[in-house]
């Protein structure tokens, strides 16, 4: 497309509303208006100029702020739907999601589940919404920032009359000594930290242009942030696992390829004192105990390099740390968090074989509930064989004994007891917590419960997140841009002399009251009249013509 030549000699890109150099309105619409549209200083934006090719159409769609806002509102509304019922990740894991929503929330829950709202934030369409927001951010920013940068860089000091008189704040003052007025004004603005430029009797005082870049910088930050969030789906970037470690034991840390190990030296839970003078009343009202600390005293080991595969690894201590909530153990991009625990988990169980008639103990066996032996020899022809072991016992659907898990929360055994009297087949006995039954016939011997040894178990979340640096950088850029764009306003005042007339016009991208305050101060020092605010005049007229300004005799 051809460029448009302004009468000042500047070549403007096709589609420009106000000459980039002198500001002269180039379009009929602007020439007839009392105020020109100063948004983006009237630059030619790609999206407003081309509409032919598919690329143009896509560009125009995503560059529209209307579309951007619609996407924001859509994300807002759908996000709120996700909070009506808990998301899938927060429901108990022992029932199926479909059942849980139906049982807990009835028909509404069923609908919620069927529509996929139970996993709303991970759904393809929610991600698509976020992605389109990202695209909108990029295109809408590029569409505006490039021409805006050019126009603010090339703006001339001396502006066209048509530009000045069509500013929202514009005034003409008569001055006996215009030279002096200009000098005073120049000093005034210099003192107010404006950047003042002069050009054949015209003045441009400008302040805080950098604030105009704020929005674009914060958009860049958001794009970096969203990119960082996307990186999580690349393999190796993100680890989220849980490792359970019993007191005194050492476990390999998942996700580290068997390189790192963690030992639980001690785990404990501290409660607040319920009779505490300060906190006692609150705790008694809530009638519950409040935990003060969960803590694992942990030791981190690294496998010795060059060890034989399969052999017991040689471990080198790396560091030890008291892991608490808010105080994770960090190493090599990994963090271990105190996130779960179980106190008094069954670890070892002692049972003794006794003669029913005499009540005499033949011998005691200690069973490691995580690694039971097949057979325990008590000597003199007495031995106990573990026929079956159910770490977490239940009767299954067919009424057969079975186990829910490998964790010994409810251990049960079928023992085969051999004695000199029964050295062929032994006697069968079923022993569990609060259960002790003979299986076939009445037995001569029984296994009786002697004691149990328990251990505390700590649950540590293993986390590696290599996307964090992107998020930190993106978040920081975003915040800088946001502050830059929010806490300053870009003000420009143009003053131009025509013999004894001094024309003055002002523009700010926001907070007009503050600009007016500046003009009032200027007026006091230079005898320049305070320019009129056309928008305010217009609104006052509108209100008057509505005929409902009764005023009540006030003012």
């Amino acid at each position: 497309m051809e460029k448009q030549k302004c009468e000042c000699g500047h070549l403007n890109p096709y589609g420009t509303h106000l000459c980039e150099s002198c500001g002269k309105p180039l379009e009929e619409k602007d020439k007839n208006a009392t105020m020109v549209d100063m948004r983006y200083d009237g630059v030619a934006r790609r999206s407003q100029t081309y509409n032919k090719k598919i690329v143009d159409r896509i560009w125009n769609f995503f560059s529209s702020v209307k579309i951007g806002i619609s996407i924001i509102i859509l994300i807002l509304v759908t996000s709120s739907i996700g909070t009506i019922f808990p998301q899938e990740m927060y429901i108990p894991s022992n029932v199926s999601a479909a059942q849980h929503y139906e049982n807990e929330y009835g028909i509404a829950g069923q609908v919620y589940y069927t529509l996929g709202f139970h996993n709303l934030y991970g759904s393809w369409w929610y991600m698509a919404l976020i992605a389109s927001l990202g695209i909108s951010l990029i295109i809408a920013s590029l569409d505006r920032v490039v021409p805006l940068y050019r126009v603010l860089k090339h703006q001339r000091v001396s502006r066209n009359e048509g530009f000045l008189s069509r500013q929202r704040m514009f005034g003409v003052s008569h001055s006996e000594d215009p030279e002096q007025t200009m000098t005073d004004a120049k000093q005034f603005f210099a003192r107010k930290k404006y950047n003042v430029r002069e050009e054949n009797g015209s003045l441009l005082a400008e302040k805080n242009r950098f604030t105009r870049w704020g929005p674009y910088i914060n958009h860049i930050g958001l794009i970096v942030f969203l990119t960082g969030c996307m990186l999580r789906f690349f393999p190796g970037m993100y680890v989220d696992d849980l490792v359970w470690v019993r007191e005194g034991e050492t476990e390999v840390i998942p996700g580290t390829d068997g390189e790192y190990f963690i030992e639980n030296d001690e785990f404990f839970v501290d409660l607040y004192d319920e009779n505490d003078e300060v906190f006692g009343p609150a705790m008694q009202r809530a009638s519950g105990q409040t935990v003060e600390t969960y803590q694992t005293n942990a030791i981190l080991y690294q496998r010795e390099e060059g060890g034989t595969v399969g052999a017991e690894p040689d471990l080198n201590e790396v560091k030890s740390k008291e892991i608490e909530v808010n105080h994770p153990l960090r190493f090599n991009n990994f963090s271990l968090y105190q996130s779960d625990y179980k106190v008094n988990e069954f670890n070892k169980m002692s049972l003794s074989m006794t003669d029913r008639e005499t009540d005499e103990s033949i011998g005691t066996i200690e069973i490691d509930l995580f690694d039971p032996q097949a057979e325990y020899d008590l000597g003199d022809g007495y031995r106990v064989v573990i026929d079956s072991y159910f770490p977490n016992f239940e009767f299954d659907d067919e009424g057969e004994p079975s186990t829910v898990s490998d964790i010994p929360d409810n251990p049960a055994f079928i023992f085969q007891m051999f004695s000199p009297e029964h050295d062929e087949d032994g006697e069968y006995s079923f022993v569990g917590i609060q259960r002790n039954e003979d299986i076939f016939n009445e037995n001569d011997y029984q296994m009786s419960f002697e004691g149990v040894e328990t251990k505390d178990v700590t649950g540590l979340t293993v986390r590696k997140d290599l996307t964090l640096p992107f998020l930190i950088v993106g978040g920081s850029i975003f915040m800088i841009g946001l502050v830059q764009g929010s806490y300053w306003s870009h003000r420009r005042v143009w003053i131009r002399r025509f013999d004894n007339e001094v024309w003055i016009a002002g523009h700010t991208n926001k907070h007009w009251e503050s600009l007016k305050k500046e003009f009032r101060a200027l007026s006091k020092e230079t005898k320049l009249d305070v320019p009129e605010d056309k928008q305010q005049l217009k609104e006052e007229e509108d209100e008057q013509s509505n005929g409902r300004d009764d005023g009540n005799g006030r003012n």
Partner: protein, 405 residues
């Protein structure tokens, strides 16, 4: 040790007294601002209207009130040993304080007395609402034991306080400019806001009235899990618990029984507040013989809608970055440290995101689509509703990691 303990509780008492004094100072400030807006204007020697001094007096009382609020905050911090923003009472009180601070800043820029006339009562309401919740000092659960508690919560509250000034200014704009002689949707919704404020006042009054009467009615009922449990009402039960039987003699029997999944005592309180609000509202309508907004409007005649519009926009331009920093960025940093992930779609997190998105939409609508004046004012009102929803509803009704109270 014992001595020190007694000293601590004495400190808590001092703290409560400071808050009470702050409350009365805010009350005086409210009255001063109301007089400054509605009272006679003074003229200077040249005969120009220069307004009166009541606005300045009100401003001084606001600052004094703020100082006492800070005194409450510091003494309570000493008494508890941790920053007092960890439950509903503490957080809401702090929100009232930040609202006052935000007002002090914006009044410093614009010197609009009417803003004081609207903001100070909101501060009063917020603090009165806060004291409805249990005020005892509570110990910190492990997740809250972090320096980020100070940083994240105070910044978020400050952001919300500043954004709320946008609401006050928006409300002024609407009352100033709407045409109350007509009956239309706008007037209806503005009156709805007024009714909500009246209901909040009713809630606080009823709550204290029954507390003064020491009303307590205990019910035995069947809870969600199908087990028998007890529940104590502090107001006469209009809505009873699921299969509830009244255990306390001489108290009112409930009119209807609620299903088990609903917190029937809270629902009962809501019904009481809304009902009493309705009665108060219509009494006011009867006395004033016009919509509440229409009754206030004449007082605001001297105010430039443009200035009020700018105050609301300024408040949001200042508050939005602060809220984003506290409610999202600091929140994410702390969540990464305490909960192992920076973002987990917890309801409170989602509603902070919604607040962020809403004000982002507001800024875009205002800057790029020219939504000034009335439309902008409505958005400010909606924004405040979202903030209050996140404070009250998400905390008390939607359970999540953030429910402490």
């Amino acid at each position: 040790m014992n001595n020190q303990m007694e000293g601590m509780t004495a400190m808590a008492e001092i703290s409560a007294n400071l808050l009470l004094i702050a409350f009365f100072l805010y009350l005086i400030a409210t009255i001063c601002f109301a007089v400054s807006v509605t009272g006679r204007k003074w003229r200077d020697k040249q005969g120009d209207v220069i307004g009166n001094r009541w606005g300045t007096v009100g401003y001084v009382f606001s600052i004094l009130g703020f100082c006492f609020s800070v005194g409450y905050f510091i003494t309570r911090w000493i008494a508890a040993g941790h920053v007092p923003v960890s439950n509903m009472f503490e957080y809401t009180t702090f929100l009232g304080t930040t609202l006052c601070l935000a007002f002090i800043i914006l009044y410093g820029i614009y010197r609009t007395n009417v803003l004081g006339m609207f903001t100070m009562p909101i501060v009063l309401l917020v603090i009165a609402f806060a004291s409805v919740f249990p005020t005892e000092l509570e110990p910190l659960i492990p997740a809250l034991q972090s320096n980020w508690l100070k940083i994240h919560v105070t910044t978020t509250a400050l952001g919300q306080g500043i954004l709320s000034i946008g609401f006050a200014a928006g409300l002024i704009y609407l009352i100033r400019t709407l045409d109350f002689t007509k009956r239309n949707k706008k007037v209806f919704w503005l009156e709805f806001i007024m009714y909500s404020l009246v209901s909040l006042v009713s809630f606080i009054i009823i709550r204290y009235a029954f507390e003064l009467l020491q009303y307590q009615a205990t019910f035995e009922y069947v809870n969600e899990a199908g087990e028998s449990a007890e529940m104590t009402y502090n107001m006469p039960a209009l809505l009873g618990p699921n299969e509830g039987t009244l255990l306390t003699n001489g108290m009112m029997e409930p009119l209807i029984s609620m299903p088990a999944w609903l917190r029937s005592d809270d629902a009962n309180t809501v019904i009481w507040s809304l009902g009493a609000g309705l009665i108060f509202y219509f009494l006011l309508r009867l006395v004033l013989r016009k919509p509440l907004g229409g009754a206030i409007q004449p007082l605001l005649r001297g105010i430039s809608p443009d200035t009020v519009d700018e105050v609301s926009y300024r408040a949001i331009a200042i508050g939005f970055p602060v809220f984003t920093l506290g409610g999202l960025i600091f929140a994410m940093i702390w969540a990464q440290i305490a909960w192992t992930r920076f973002w987990g779609w917890d309801p409170k997190e989602v509603w902070a995101l919604i607040t962020f998105l809403f004000y982002a939409a507001y800024l875009h609508l205002r800057l790029s689509r020219g939504w000034h004046g009335e439309r902008s004012a409505w958005l400010c009102v909606i924004g405040f509703v979202i903030i209050m929803f996140n404070l009250v509803f998400v905390n008390l009704v939607i359970a999540g990691l953030h429910s402490y109270a």
